[in-house]
């Protein structure tokens, strides 16, 4: 047992998928030319005032409900004051004194064991802009793009309830999945829509007393977060083992060097001087509003899993795997709707589709083979138009190109041969060419019978209907 164990907590920033920003009417679309989705309000010009986007509040309520939080009846906004050029007002409108959701929890599945992680609070805030540092040698300036400034964020603050990298990964995955489920964010990490900040302290293994906490920013993927946890645990362990102290500080992850670095003292705001934003009135979240949001809450993972078991007659294992991500579940449901063989489709999902997604590191939405295509493949097997083996080839081709499976089968002449005349010809040829094998079959060797079937299938280039081959071969070798 190592002498020290890490204690890990998360602050997760989620960009909400509202059409417009949190305090003005500007679009939140990603990827527009710099500073084209801005107005006096999100630019923080003199005299402008914020007006809260009701949809953003609703998404935050949804998030708080999904994370089992208590909803604050009168929620308020506060100003977090710090100077940075990507923050037009030099304060961020956030929530500090009356966060929208408090004291929640979420269950995570760590290699089959369920663990409950407490959520300290869920609150709303505005995103900052982006600084662009020109990669021109000698450039002595930076540029500011404020398109993102004012995009609504939900921040989910956990208690330090995680103890291992596995738990951290399960927590991140569970959150991402949940957020996709409740349709508050598309969680595209490559677009910065889901961002992680980790806090880590070490304590003597088994001890209750927590050590000094270090916060790490700038983690843009789960992989990075895990690397960072590993690195920071080693760094703090080394410090403690040398008898040195861990400083309470905020550090930045340096992706290139795979290390955390202390921020320059001038970059750190030591005191955010939070105070209630006098420009915004408190928001009354009535019971009716809360109930309305609850009633329209999209199906959560647990409920979906139960439904998959009941509706599609799937084993618990299948249902758990298929509902582990909302996008996978949606893919499955579309396929299952297109052809009525839910278990076969589930098998194809769990083996072929999930493997392809994992290997290519893509989302189901970006997978060239559409759910209806997968259903068509299974349907062709069920209708005995192609064999399972041919089906694998068709799948591989469709998964690469996105071509319609039926079209692939037709164009490449892969349709199963059920014409007994043609199959009889291959059977007769095989018997004629393999007298030794025929003798063994006659002697009762079933293995050799299968090998002979294989020879026939080979001759048909996999297209012969295996059942017919079996039947005909049996009738030829009494």
């Amino acid at each position: 047992m190592p002498r020290y164990e890490p204690v890990i907590g998360f602050e997760v920033h989620v960009e909400l998928c509202t059409n417009t920003k949190i305090f003005c009417g500007c679009s939140t679309r990603f990827g527009a030319p710099p500073n084209t989705q801005v107005c006096p309000v999100c630019l923080g010009m003199p005299g402008v005032l914020p007006v809260v986007n009701r949809k953003a509040v609703e998404f935050a309520i949804r998030t708080a409900i999904a994370l089992n939080c208590g909803i604050t009846k009168y929620t308020t906004f506060d100003r977090k004051n710090y100077y940075y050029p990507d923050l037009p007002k030099n304060y961020q409108i956030s929530q500090n004194y009356a966060s929208l959701g408090t004291s929640g929890w979420v269950d995570i599945d760590v290699n089959g064991t369920v663990k409950r992680v407490r959520i300290n609070n869920v609150h709303l805030e505005e995103d900052a802009g982006k600084l662009l540092h020109p990669e021109i040698p000698g450039a002595n300036y930076s540029l500011v793009d404020l398109n993102r400034a004012g995009t609504p964020l939900v921040e989910i603050v956990s208690e330090p309830d995680l103890g291992t990298a596995d738990e951290a990964l399960a927590y991140m995955n569970t959150l991402k999945n949940l957020l996709e489920y409740i349709e508050v964010s598309d969680c595209k990490m490559q677009e910065g829509r889901l961002r992680f900040e980790v806090n880590i302290s070490l304590r003597e293994s088994g001890a209750a007393k927590l050590g000094t906490k270090v916060e790490i920013k700038n983690l843009n993927s789960m992989k990075t977060a895990l690397k960072c946890i590993g690195h920071e645990t080693r760094r703090q362990t080394a410090l403690l083992e040398r008898g040195e102290k861990v400083f309470q500080e905020t550090r930045l992850w340096d992706e290139a060097a795979s290390v955390t670095r202390a921020m320059r003292s001038k970059e750190v705001a030591h005191d955010y001087r939070y105070f209630p934003d006098p420009d915004l009135v408190e928001i009354h979240i009535t019971d009716e509003w809360q109930e309305q949001v609850r009633a329209h809450l999209p199906e959560l993972p647990d409920a979906k899993r139960q439904r998959f078991i009941a509706e599609y007659d799937l084993p618990e294992y299948d249902a758990r795997l298929l509902t582990a991500s909302k996008t996978v579940a949606t893919y499955y449901e579309r396929a299952a709707a297109a052809h009525n063989n839910p278990k076969a489709i589930s098998n194809w999902m769990m083996t072929e589709v999930l493997r392809e997604l994992r290997e290519r590191d893509i989302e189901p939405d970006d997978f060239p083979l559409k759910p209806e295509g997968l259903a068509a493949i299974v349907e062709m097997i069920d209708d005995a138009r192609i064999s399972g083996k041919i089906a694998k080839d068709v799948f591989a081709k469709a998964a690469q190109s996105g071509r319609d499976p039926g079209e692939i089968v037709n164009a490449e002449g892969l349709l199963q041969v059920t014409d007994t005349g043609e199959i009889e010809k291959w059977v007769d040829e095989a018997i004629a060419e393999n007298p030794d094998m025929v003798a063994k079959v006659k002697a009762g060797q079933t293995k050799t019978f299968q090998a002979l079937v294989g020879q026939i299938m080979k001759k048909s280039r996999g297209k012969a209907n295996p059942a017919l081959v079996n039947e005909l071969l049996k009738s030829r070798i009494p």
């Binding site: 005299g47 402008v48 005032l49 420009d279």
Partner: protein, 489 residues
């Protein structure tokens, strides 16, 4: 009487009877402004061309058979902390000296909607922080009644312009007395509406929970006309009240018989000039003669008002003014890195009083001091508000001096900020309580300096203020006196 000395309601009648055009009045006002601006220095920007074309447009709307809005063709000056699209808005600060907003404040939008003629932008204490307009980063403004004296502040430019005929009416903003105190010093009418009655959108924020825009005019009826144009809910300002304001002109020409006038002992103690005290006493007797009944009320917590105000207001200001960093608009001091750019810009762009308040406010919000200062100030604010609630159970309006003194000399108080802060001792509690108050001329000192009477009413009871101050005005001649500023030849 010169055209530039008339009131808006008088001009309105002449426009309707086709005795005058907006172009004529505007020309007279703009000439007056140009003539005496070198002496009074009320404006930061005089908008000759814009005024001319607005007047021409108003005259087309005033043509026979058309129904023009009540303020059509009236030359109105706008305090330079309210954004005007395409017209420089400086807040009388070096840091915004070159700032041209791409949008109008809601109040400006409404004035334009009424086809008012915007004459230009008036001077103020930098970011409305001050009581004498001496803190302007552009230039000082002088009191038309005595050019060696201050016009009050922070809306000193607006009050001086209205008093001296450089505009018919003007907008002001009042965070702790910035409309009423200069109105009192310049012998004009100034109204601070209830918090939330007038939209703050486009008003460059000083202290957001206290700032209110209001009218500065030559008489009470004009104040009602201008408030009519400005008041009402604005979806761009969530702190603006969701009410339909009444037509405030319907509250004038009403009797004050039986109206109870609260006289708080705390407002009639030491610390005010005897001449001011005498004028207020005389005004209260005048109101009695008109049928009003004086009653004694208590405002126990008012001694804490100035202290609470200078914590709340500066705390908000320290955050509101953080955006002036040289990055996006306004002044920028060049530097090798962004941190130095920001701090140098602020060091050079802000004046001493603004820096003092930013530091005060930053301190009040700092970890470890927040509860002791900011939160405590909020509690005091609640107690002050409750005092007013109780007092208004016994009376309909409260009377007091607007300021403990008449206009003081330029430079007299600049070395002693605390003494300067005390000139708002009677006006500040009204902002803290979020209620409404008016200052009207009620007498003159032996040196011929105007004295103001403050009348305070509960939230959204501006109507009471118009009734009582109009009755007082009808029974007195103070509002008819005009300073005689002669252009130097």
């Amino acid at each position: 009487m010169e055209l530039y000395e008339m009131t808006a309601h008088e001009l309105r009648g002449k426009f309707e009877r086709r005795e005058l055009s907006s172009a004529e009045v505007t020309a007279a006002v703009m000439k007056r402004a140009a003539d005496i601006e070198p002496l009074v220095r009320a404006y930061v920007t005089i908008a000759h061309d814009e005024a001319d074309s607005a007047a021409a447009e108003a005259d087309r709307a005033l043509a026979p058979g058309k129904s023009a809005p009540p303020l059509a063709g009236i030359p109105i000056a706008v305090k330079d902390n309210m954004c005007t699209k395409g017209m420089r808005t400086t807040c009388s600060s070096k840091i915004l000296a070159n700032f041209v907003p791409p949008y109008d404040a809601t109040v400006v939008t409404r004035l334009r909607g009424q086809m008012a003629v915007i004459t230009g932008k008036t001077n103020l204490d930098e970011f409305a922080m001050g009581s004498s307009t001496e803190n302007s980063g552009i230039h000082k403004t002088f009191n038309p009644w005595d050019l060696e004296r201050v016009p009050g502040g922070s809306s000193g430019g607006s009050a001086a312009a209205v008093a001296a005929g450089m505009a018919i009416m003007a907008t002001g903003s009042d965070t702790g007395g910035s409309i009423r105190q200069p109105a009192s010093f310049c012998g004009v009418v100034g109204l601070k509406p209830t918090y939330g009655l007038v939209s703050r959108y486009g008003l460059v924020a000083f202290a957001s929970s206290l700032d209110q825009i209001g009218p500065i005019t030559r008489d009470v009826e004009d104040a009602a006309l201008l408030l009519n144009a400005m008041a009402g809910h604005d979806p761009l300002d969530t702190t603006s009240a969701k009410i339909m304001p009444p037509d405030y002109t319907t509250f004038i020409n009403r009797s004050v018989k039986g109206m109870r006038i609260g006289l708080p002992a705390e407002y009639f103690g030491d610390g005010q000039e005897p001449e001011v005290r005498a004028a207020i006493d005389k005004s209260v007797r005048k109101l009695e003669e008109l049928g009003a009944e004086p009653v004694e009320v208590e405002l126990h917590h008012s001694p804490y008002a100035v202290a609470a105000y200078y914590l709340c207001a500066t705390a908000e200001a320290s955050s509101n003014l953080a955006r002036y960093d040289g990055a996006q608009y306004g002044m920028r001091a060049e530097a090798d890195n962004v941190i130095d750019m920001c701090s140098r810009t602020r060091a050079r762009g802000f004046g001493a009083e603004v820096k003092r308040r930013i530091m005060l406010g930053t301190y009040a919000l700092s970890a470890g001091y927040y509860d002791a200062y900011y939160v405590k100030a909020l509690k005091a604010r609640t107690l002050i508000k409750r005092d007013f609630d109780r007092a208004f159970e016994k009376c309909d309006v409260i009377a007091s001096p607007t300021s403990p003194t008449a206009a003081f000399k330029v430079g007299e108080k600049t070395d002693n900020p605390l003494e300067m802060y005390l000139s708002d001792i009677f006006t500040i509690p009204v902002n803290l309580a979020g209620i409404c108050a008016i200052s009207i001329p009620c007498g003159f000192t032996l040196q011929n300096l105007p004295i103001g009477l403050q009348l305070i009413a509960p939230a959204f009871e501006e109507g009471r203020l118009f009734t009582i101050s109009h009755a007082f005005e009808q029974a007195t001649e103070w509002h008819k006196k005009r300073p005689s500023v002669m252009p130097s030849s």
